[in-house]
Assembly symmetry: C2
Homo-oligomer: 268 residues x 2
């Protein structure tokens, strides 16, 4: 599960990302580059640890006491089986980015907006899975997101425009993708009010390739993040929504359909 | 310690990185994009855990047993003090990238080269420190590296050309940088043969800004990585070397000297 990109695959990755970033630019979205992690406290506001403990990856360091470090050093000299014998850890306060757009709600905490905001970022995300497949189901992968924060109507309008744009592009390049309603992968769905709400009124639509792999999604969050992070649009909790693209999966999809030669890719 | 980049600062970050990537292009360096982590086993080959246990950050997930996840979920609902109460962890087998160029030696393991190789990458690196300062001393930061793998003479020639190029640029933009011999920050220097070797015959030269902050470095590794990863150049262990740029520190340096207006930056 270690897939460096270079040559044609890296070029394809960049051209796809530039295409999506271009769509962001057409909305006037401002680009951000975020750290690799979020404060755990920000995710606690979203009940993240109750909803998705199985997906989370934490960046942890060792307790810096010299005798602890020495013990660790002595215990991990050869590492025959590849598994680290971790010593005592320093307090853990962060989570490696689970989804690119979380950074915006945390960063913009306390927002008082009088117009819709459009934003974009590409982030390295971590999502622990039961099994991994290179380019398809990676522990760590790249996600490009375009986000709108505004009134419910503004966000819905943004998501419709984005979905039309993505659908037209998918049709033009003839990828076997269907749009399907989906839910987030909750840990304990039957106990989750949010899961039940998502089942009753779907807010997530995935671009499903070959009937089995989501290469992107359109998500309406209602005012969930607006309430959790005190984001207001004209005095009321803001709504938000995003379109997200899993870049490695897109690279794989275009490459499977058109091969590895840049001249053969139906991209701008 | 959470510094998103956007607007002018993001533009400056990109223009500086494009400048260094351009220098890589002039050497014919191929660009790679790597995962956020390395297998711990690769770093064990470098005695990394004995040399730098105090710097390492590990990406860890919870043991996926449902009762373990439920216990974690219950213990981290509110997180008043911001510190996670981690439950039982899954086996840890990876380390978040400590330095961009390590990826190359690991990826190219078993290389049999008959000409020098030039390579480049930008990676998000993690380095734990005793204290942090935004843009200056971050837990996680961006490193652009240009690497040469070849004979000792080829690598030295490459490093000299790169150092001349960087020195000429630093002089042209009038940053108060001095080149200073340095050593890697070993955990227990007096016990480390590698540290003593570095003291006797310096292999690291840093670009030190204002007498206190290294914004980049030129490093000659001799055949250290060539031997550890079985990289050969014409039948002998290859030498390697790199020039590395800490992008956030460069952004800060240019911005301190020339302000935040793109028109005022002395960049191509």
């Amino acid at each position: 599960m270690y897939t460096p990109l270079h040559g044609g695959m890296l070029e394809l990755y960049r051209r796809l990302d530039a295409l999506f970033a271009g769509w962001a630019g057409e909305c006037g979205a401002e680009e951000y580059l975020f750290p690799a992690y979020l404060p755990a406290q920000a995710l606690a506001r979203l009940n993240y640890f109750e909803s998705f403990p199985h997906l989370a990856t934490f960046p942890v360091a060792l307790d810096s006491d010299p005798s602890n470090l020495r013990q660790f050093a002595a215990g991990n000299a050869s590492l025959e089986d590849g598994t680290l014998r971790l010593a005592r850890l320093a307090p853990a306060r962060e989570v490696l980015t689970p989804a690119a757009c979380y950074h915006f709600y945390h960063t913009l905490q306390g927002l008082r907006a009088s117009a819709p905001l459009h934003l974009t970022t590409r982030a390295t995300c971590f999502r622990r899975e039961a099994h991994y497949v290179p380019m398809e189901r990676q522990w760590s992968f790249s996600m490009r997101e375009i986000v709108c924060i505004g009134t419910a109507a503004e966000v819905k309008d943004f998501l419709e425009r984005m979905q039309r744009k993505a659908a037209a592009f998918l049709e033009r390049i003839k990828l076997p993708v269907r749009w399907q309603a989906a839910t987030d992968p909750f840990f304990d769905p039957s106990r989750s009010a949010r899961y039940l709400a998502q089942r009753l009124d779907p807010v997530k639509t995935e671009m499903v390739l070959n009937g089995r792999l989501a290469i992107g999604s359109v998500n309406f969050h209602r005012s969930y993040f607006g309430e959790a992070f005190d984001l207001q649009r004209d005095g009321a909790p803001a709504s938000s929504g995003c379109i997200a693209f899993g870049l490695e999966r897109w690279v794989q999809a275009v490459c499977s359909a058109y091969g590895a030669q840049p001249g053969d890719w139906p991209l701008p």
